[in-house]
């Protein structure tokens, strides 16, 4: 299945986000080899230039390493995974808080409702 892409963000960035999330969730392991640019392009149904950009961006962020003649690999640095997890966490919480404020909840109400949700069985 090729992926649906959101319109609000460039496709290369959306694929980068997906790789980062898979890494944080443990679906991609540290040091694991990523598909070649062409393979990844086929899997995602996008132009290979887009994947080139995705890998370039991830390398700039230190999430992947390109080894000459061997391909692109997930970083083996443990602190990177930790940092990415914290980043994603912060981003999600920020988005949630923004949404809640937008519908008019006070910080105290947000706090209370989160607390209640966690107490009342968490996952839903």
């Amino acid at each position: 299945m090729s992926t649906e892409f959101k319109t609000s963000k460039p496709i290369y960035g959306q694929i980068a986000d997906r790789i980062i999330q898979q890494f944080v969730r443990g679906e991609l392991r540290a040091g694991e080899k990523l598909p070649s640019v062409r393979e990844m392009a086929i899997q995602s149904g996008v132009n290979p230039n887009t994947i080139q950009r995705t890998y370039g961006e991830l390398e700039r962020l230190g999430v992947v390493e390109t080894k000459r003649g061997q391909g692109t690999f997930m970083t083996e640095k443990n602190e990177m995974k930790q940092k990415l997890r914290t980043d994603i966490q912060r981003e999600m919480i920020q988005a949630f808080v923004n949404n809640m404020r937008q519908i008019g909840l006070s910080d105290e109400e947000i706090h209370d409702s989160v607390h209640e949700c966690l107490k009342g069985g968490g996952e839903s």
Partner: protein, 234 residues
């Protein structure tokens, strides 16, 4: 590089193309979008050397298009590509006999990829299979230019997805100049680099696909809707 230099085409009073100036760079993937009758197919036929301009010139690598220049070009047209009495393998052999750049090896790979049966007759193929066979025939050639005129027309979403994957797998990105005319923008959008909008024979807008997302937060479809001046797209 393909250049349209003030190109006008006229049939009687009708002007399918009106003073078009545009340059297609080598190795990029273009989408020509626009309502029916906007002149998309006429542009394609001109690049293929099947229709000549009344005014202006169409140039490939600086030379006016002629049938011989157009040999280095594969054209998936909406009609007249397949012969009903042929079997799939006969269509492949026929193309091989016509084009020295046709690769039997690539055709074999594409047969598997497109899940076509080489023994089947063209007349017995479903619309989706015919669409896949047409694509096989043009992708098995090694050409500088690949023109796809409405490759998705009448095909269901599953087939469209297979075709997009086929394109990503077999286009020579960075080398081949690919021009696709289409209405089905959503499927094709992730492989386009540039899009141009054609309305009533004029290029009314053009964009760089990733830039539109990055700078305006729009998909090509939304960009198109924001730019279409006359009629709504189907």
């Amino acid at each position: 590089m393909i250049t349209f230099d003030h190109v006008t085409k006229q049939y009687g009073k009708r002007k399918p193309l009106h003073d078009i100036t545009y340059t297609f760079e080598q190795g990029k993937v273009y989408g020509i979008l626009g309502p029916n009758g906007s002149g998309k197919s006429t542009m394609m036929k001109m690049i293929a050397g099947l229709v000549y301009p009344n005014e202006g010139a169409v140039l490939i690598e600086g030379k006016p298009v002629s049938r011989s220049i157009a040999r280095n070009l594969a054209f998936l047209s909406t009609e007249g590509m397949l012969y009903n009495s042929f079997r799939v393998e006969q269509m492949i052999q026929f193309f091989q006999s016509q084009y020295p750049d046709f690769s039997m090896g690539k055709a074999g790979e594409l047969l598997t990829f497109m899940e076509l049966d080489r023994r089947q007759k063209v007349s017995e193929l479903s619309k989706g299979e015919q669409g896949r066979l047409k694509l096989l025939l043009v992708l098995a050639r090694k050409t500088d230019i690949l023109l796809l005129d409405e490759p998705f027309i009448g095909l269901d979403p599953m087939v469209r997805e297979t075709i997009v994957k086929g394109l990503v797998s077999f286009i020579d990105f960075g080398e081949q100049t690919v021009i696709i005319t289409t209405h089905e923008i959503t499927e094709i959008e992730p492989i386009l680099e540039k899009a141009l909008l054609l309305e009533s024979g004029k290029v009314t807008a053009s964009c760089n696909v990733e830039e539109v997302r990055e700078e305006q937060g729009l998909s090509v479809l939304e960009w198109l809707k924001a730019n279409v001046q006359k009629e709504e797209l189907a």
